[in-house]
């Protein structure tokens, strides 16, 4: 069976009508792991085949009534997984085998999912290309000379290569949406506080959101129904009930107001080919009945600077806990980007610089959040490009941290404000995928999924799988 073209929705239908078994599905994923992992470096750990087959057989003895019965899933390596090595993409945790599951991992298992393995990533989530993995960079399944986007680089590659039907990711500044955009996939950055962070190795605690990557919007919404919700182990999770997103995907676009942030469309350095594809996608939304209006997010030009003070500050504090005593190796094993971020953060928080850097950035965060609050008083959602460029060549930005940081220019502001956004595939330039973001107000996942779903039904870009 061909996993590359299979969705969770069609896999569940096939299992429930006895067209194939979980053993078939898991077996086909493992075949792709064996075929592609050496060349693409998507996974850092694969669960033992006998264990996976035993789990699949157990599922095959049921009536597949769980929401993810027998669905193979890969976890980003920041997700703590009981008994499966969890490195965060870093050499600091090269031998770390956790003794508990993150809340999201426990929820996925309880929903019948089968955990295939752990995905490669930029170490600690620091990066936009996958090249900051302390192991080896992941390659883009659509063109192996290019990056798959990061930091959830292996998660996106694993889904595109048919090693699983979905993969988890974290998004602190772009890390689910950018790899989804670069690999023609749907990637959700949920509202901050929608999905529990318990057991996810922290990057920047007031920015980290726990998302996932799938082929289709339906699949994405299905997983969000399972992972979202209040968790007693994460005090920042919300009591707001989780809707059954998958039951509400079919709406009409008539009357829906979509805002285009003018600062995002006038960006210097934007690849005109990406612009054209995005404009065509917006025209499609308009043809489907949406009203398109220009809006402004006035503090966009300082959002990246704000992000690169606040996030490294939180990084320096979170990574201070890794001392090599209770688990992990010593601090000399941190990679270059983690060291850079810890030093910038420490500097921004240090005596004499705190007011000029950290406090100013925290004040500007207020202004950026207000930009989004104001604009959502006037429109239902925002639509913007996901990336200013196509997937770039491996090595192109790896020696210039500031150039790499600017890959996320359309995405970081969303994390500063804490609102949700989904990347939806919106076309190709040659064989290279282009993604667009649909951004909603706080806890507006339902609305962004609806708009993404209507667009996807009309365009079906997800059907163009990599030529491998």
């Amino acid at each position: 069976m061909e996993i590359k073209a299979l969705t969770i929705q069609s896999a569940l239908a096939g299992l429930r009508t006895k067209q194939f078994t979980a053993v078939d599905v898991v077996g086909a994923c493992l075949t792709n792991v064996k075929k592609f992992n050496e060349d693409y470096q998507a996974l850092l750990a694969v669960v033992d085949e006998d264990v996976l087959m035993a789990q699949a057989k157990d599922i095959d003895a049921t009536d597949y009534s769980l929401p993810l019965s027998g669905i193979p899933i890969v976890l980003k390596d920041l997700f703590t997984s009981d008994g499966i090595r969890t490195t965060a993409g870093s050499k600091v945790l090269e031998q770390y085998v956790p003794v508990f599951d993150a809340t999201v991992v426990a929820k996925l298992k309880a929903a019948g999912a089968i955990i295939i393995g752990k995905a490669n990533q930029d170490a600690w989530g620091h990066g936009s290309s996958g090249e900051n993995s302390d192991y080896t960079p992941t390659k883009n399944p659509y063109d192996p000379s290019r990056v798959p986007g990061g930091s959830s680089s292996g998660s996106a590659a694993a889904v595109a290569l048919g090693m699983c039907l979905a993969a988890t990711g974290t998004d602190t500044g772009s890390s689910v949406r950018l790899p989804a955009a670069f690999c023609n996939l749907v990637g959700l950055k949920p509202t901050y506080g929608r999905v529990s962070r318990y057991g996810i190795i922290a990057m920047a605690s007031s920015f980290d959101t726990i998302g996932h990557i799938t082929k289709t919007v339906y699949d994405n919404a299905l997983i969000c129904e399972i992972t979202a919700g209040k968790d007693a182990y994460d005090a920042t999770t919300s009591e707001i009930p989780v809707p059954q997103y998958t039951n509400k995907l079919d709406i009409k676009l008539q009357g829906v107001k979509i805002g285009l942030p003018k600062e995002y469309f006038g960006l210097h350095g934007m690849d005109p080919r990406v612009s054209d594809v995005t404009r065509t996608a917006i025209k499609k939304l308009e043809d489907l009945g949406a009203r398109i209006v220009d809006v402004s997010l006035p503090h966009t030009s300082v959002a990246m600077a704000c992000y690169y003070i606040l996030v490294p500050s939180e990084v320096s504090s979170n990574l201070a806990r890794f001392d090599g005593v209770r688990f992990g190796n010593g601090r000399e094993t941190f990679g270059m980007e983690a060291k850079r971020r810890m030093m910038i953060g420490t500097y921004a928080l240090s005596s004499g610089y705190y007011d000029a850097y950290y406090k100013t950035a925290a004040q500007i965060r207020t202004l950026i959040k207000k930009d989004f609050d104001d604009v959502f008083g006037a429109v239902d959602v925002l639509v913007a490009p996901s990336s200013p460029t196509l997937p770039f060549a491996i090595g192109q930005k790896s020696n210039d941290p500031v150039a790499m940081y600017l890959s996320d220019i359309f995405m970081c502001p969303v994390n500063i404000a804490g609102v949700p956004a989904v990347n939806v595939p919106c076309g190709f330039v040659g064989d290279l995928p282009v993604g667009m973001q649909i951004i909603g107000p706080q806890f507006g996942e339902e609305r962004i999924y609806q708009i993404a779903s209507i667009y996807e039904k009309e365009t079906q870009w997800y059907k163009k799988t990599p030529k491998i």
Binding site: Q95, Y96, V97, P98, V99, F100, Y192, G193, S206, A232, Y233, A235, T236, S238, H299, S301, V302, M304, A305, C306, Y308, I309, S316, A320, G324, V325, R326, F327, G328, R331, E332, F334, K339, R340, M342, M343, I344, G345, T346, Y347, S350, A356, Y357, K359, T360, A361, A362, Q363, I364, R365, T366, L367, K369, P401, V402, Y405, A417, G418, Q442
Partner: protein, 99 residues
């Protein structure tokens, strides 16, 4: 405002954050961190007088749990020590603070 980080600044920061920097990496880190500081210096152009800082976006305050032992969450001693490089009589061995 834009700061240039000298080698001694870098050594001071590295000490604060408990990192050792290789001698041959000082120049690279100095130039990269200076470039990052130069990039973030544009923040100073934004008027922020009387703007309250934002540290979190949930709006939640004073989230408590019941003050009871959560038995399933507690690791056994064996599990807690499972990843330690060095243990002694069921405890972590930590670097000596005093000689």
């Amino acid at each position: 405002m834009s700061d240039t980080l000298t080698s001694s600044d870098l050594a001071h920061i590295a000490k604060l954050v408990n990192l050792s920097i290789d001698a041959d990496q000082y120049d690279l880190f100095s130039s990269q961190l200076t470039a990052i500081l130069d990039f973030v210096s544009r923040l100073q152009e934004v008027p922020t007088k009387n703007i309250a800082p934002t540290a979190q976006v949930t709006g939640l305050t004073n989230v408590y749990r019941d003050d009871v032992v959560d038995q399933p969450r507690i690791l056994t001693q064996k599990d807690a020590l499972a990843n330690a490089h060095e243990t002694h009589n069921g405890f972590f061995v930590v670097p000596a603070v005093f000689e």
